[in-house]
Symmetry: C2
Amino acid sequence: MLVNWRIIGSMETMNHKPDYEKELRDAGIRITRPRRVILDILSGTEDHPDAMEIFRRAVSVDSSISLSTVYRTMKLLEERGAIHRHAFNGGPSRFEQASGVHHDHLIDIETGDVVEFRSDRIEKLQEEIARSLGYDIVHHRLELYGRKRKKA
Amino acid sequence: MLVNWRIIGSMETMNHKPDYEKELRDAGIRITRPRRVILDILSGTEDHPDAMEIFRRAVSVDSSISLSTVYRTMKLLEERGAIHRHAFNGGPSRFEQASGVHHDHLIDIETGDVVEFRSDRIEKLQEEIARSLGYDIVHHRLELYGRKRKKA
DNA sequence: GCGCCAGTTGACAAGCATTTGCAAAATTTT
DNA sequence: AAAATTTTGCAAATGCTTGTCAACTGGCGC
């Protein structure tokens, strides 16, 4: 059974290093044990956890990790553009790995679930509006808050 | 000169009570001295001040007003829909009087200035997107962060 | 106009999310 | 593997906001 664990294990437990580790290392960021744990959590999730939730998940992997380190790592990764920070509803910051394509968010006001979407037409309109106001857009934030439609 | 002061004075110093006072009173909200001061500040400004800034302006009118009261009043007015709360860039909440028409915001990342705008086409697209994802929009938040375009 | 009393206030403590100071521990450099 | 440097865990500190509570007051009823 020396072979099967690789197949059975999750992506995170497999021993080929994710490419983002190399990228970060090349950017002058040390890949320490706490950071690797946090990066694995972020890359292996579909949701948008906040610092406390990341901390909880991290502790279950390595109980010595501190909340401070989670916050420090989030700030570091955000500065490097590796993750995005959101404050839906003015609540605590929630994070997501910065994947290639930009997208906006639809937040279910009943469950807190987040659905990602993207609209080139809206993006285009935003550019036009900013331009007409004499500005260049550096970034933007579009959040739709809604509830799941009952029935059809 | 018993006549001219009315013309020269600002809207806030003129003695006809603003109609929003009556509206709030009818909604069961007592118009106290601190609240009147705060309401006057909100109705008389074009910008989007945060609690501390409102507090500073209020104190200059009535030095006995406390910061607690500013926060309490903002929460009250927000619940009643009389004002809107924004947390641009994840910073402290900034407030604006709820005027009739909905609008979105363009924030100057260099000065913090806020420009209001409105696009029916974007609103329409948002509805379409939410609908296609199976949701009804309850509210939304669109913030453009940009910098003033140099030259033409 | 005057008193009553629930609603409101100011002062200050407490709460929550996040940041920071610091000595110890881990990592990279030499 | 020792030196140089960064990162960590812990605890204390911060910034914004809400809660507590005795004192005060707006607005109705007389």
